[in-house]
């Protein structure tokens, strides 16, 4: 397909990338392109300038910060997450979930930064990173800031990354014995989620985040509170999920009614929590 005319730059440093984004109207970062190129075809997005991040090697690394956080560069691909020994040691759920995103070809190009910056409510990583307590580092002309998932995901296709800014990395606490779970119902085996839920159980506490039910990931705060200090038995978890659906206002579409999504939210949250609790390690 013939795209609308666009300008292209391939900066060599993050500073140059930020400068290009800040000084050109209609400039957008181009990561793996697995969403952006398609929405450009559909004319749903019409950037005037693409700032390709391909040469920014510092955004392609996975490592640990001095205080032990798993740091994932914004240009790290799903395939990289799947084969990373750092991810395997610190937070293997990231690789597990990445392996279910789209297909081989998309996983070879699609990036962590792209996934979260698109902030499509059906994307896998936003609810997962919300449950894991990830933080997001954003670079702009004025410097760097780090925000929580609550502050990062603002709505459909909207994040805390403003004009002239760039997400550089996502930092995830290591599991340290916590168990993580991810569950939901997809359209087809590895298709788009209709509803999904991510959970992490650390000791007696649990964090639960739901995807596909609102413009941004939703924390199941009441369910988390009911489960704190509980035995995490199946009966307890099922009991704690009751009423979760009523607190949500999910969309209705061809794949499921709002009521069906409310029901799936409870089912998905239960499955994710039970999986997470079963994976806890004694400390």
């Amino acid at each position: 397909m013939l795209l609308r005319e666009v300008e292209y730059a391939r900066p060599a440093t993050v500073e140059d990338a930020v400068s290009l984004l800040a000084t050109h109207d209609g400039a957008r970062p181009l990561a793996g392109g697995q969403t952006l190129v398609n929405v450009m075809k559909a004319r749903a997005a019409a950037p005037d300038v693409l700032v390709d991040l391909a040469d920014l090697d510092e955004l392609r690394t996975i490592g640990f910060s001095s205080d032990g956080l798993l740091e994932i560069g914004a240009m790290v691909t799903y395939a990289q997450l799947m084969s990373s020994s750092e991810v395997d040691v610190a937070r293997p759920i990231l690789a597990e979930v990445a392996s279910t995103i789209a297909d081989v070809q998309v996983r070879n190009r699609g990036t962590v930064g792209g996934n979260v910056c698109v902030s499509d409510p059906t994307n896998h990583l936003p609810p997962l990173l919300a449950a894991l307590g990830a933080t997001f580092t954003i670079r702009g002309a004025a410097g760097e800031r780090t925000v929580s998932a609550d502050e990062f995901f603002l709505g459909v296709y909207m994040t805390a990354v403003g004009e002239g800014e760039l997400l550089t990395k996502v930092s995830v606490p290591p599991s340290s014995g916590a168990g993580d779970g991810f569950a939901g119902v997809t359209i087809g085996k590895h298709g788009t989620y209709i509803v999904d839920a991510a959970a992490t159980v650390a000791g007696d506490n649990v964090a639960i985040a739901l995807g596909c039910v609102a413009a941004a990931p939703v924390r199941a705060a009441a369910m988390e509170k009911r489960l704190a200090g509980s035995d995490f038995s199946e009966a307890t978890v099922r009991g704690a999920a009751e009423g979760l659906g009523e607190t949500l206002d999910p969309p209705s579409d061809v794949h499921g009614s709002a009521d069906y999504r409310r029901r799936l939210a409870e089912v998905s949250a239960v499955r994710a929590v039970l999986q997470a609790a079963g994976r806890r390690k004694e400390r």
Partner: protein, 159 residues
């Protein structure tokens, strides 16, 4: 720092041959391959990143060439389906596709071959589940999956 431009001179190695060409920034990689280089073995199917007919290898990894710009490929090595039988002799996988009737209309075949070739290079004896997982991004509108999977399995087992 270089300013943004509407076209760019790119340098790519395609099937072993070094190519230098000025391409518009908006040109999709698949159109560069098909229209600029004349390598029409790579097909445009859905043009929305779903069907995988445009699958090529970019630096050894299967990717969908309709979801990349040609300028993004600057500095990479590309392999297309034409590289498989470069010396005129079909690869074992291509022969297996023939023997197992793994193509009907043939439109998805180049993408299937490139995805399966990448799998077999990494994992020479894949299980059926591994074959199906590797081919998830390739859709056959004739739904001839059984024979396609059989052909890949047969290549893996040397049958």
């Amino acid at each position: 720092m270089e300013a943004p431009t509407r076209s760019r001179a790119i340098s790519v190695e395609v099937n072993g041959e070094q190519i230098e060409m000025e391409v518009p920034a908006r040109r999709l990689l698949v159109h560069f391959i098909r229209d600029d280089l004349g390598l029409t073995g790579t097909h445009v199917g859905c043009d929305t990143g779903n069907c995988g007919a445009c699958t090529i290898h970019l630096d050894g990894e299967p990717v969908k060439s309709c979801m990349a710009l040609a300028v993004q490929a600057d500095g990479t090595k590309i392999r297309t389906v034409e590289a498989l039988a470069a010396d005129g002799e079909l690869t074992a996988l291509q022969q297996a596709f023939n023997a197992h009737h793994a193509l009907q209309c043939g439109y998805c075949t180049p993408g299937m071959l490139m995805s399966a070739t990448a799998l077999l290079e990494r994992n020479p004896r894949p299980t059926e589940d591994e074959v199906r997982y590797a081919l998830q991004g390739n859709i056959c509108r004739c739904t001839g999956y059984v024979n396609i999977v059989e052909a890949v399995m047969a290549t893996g087992s040397g049958a």
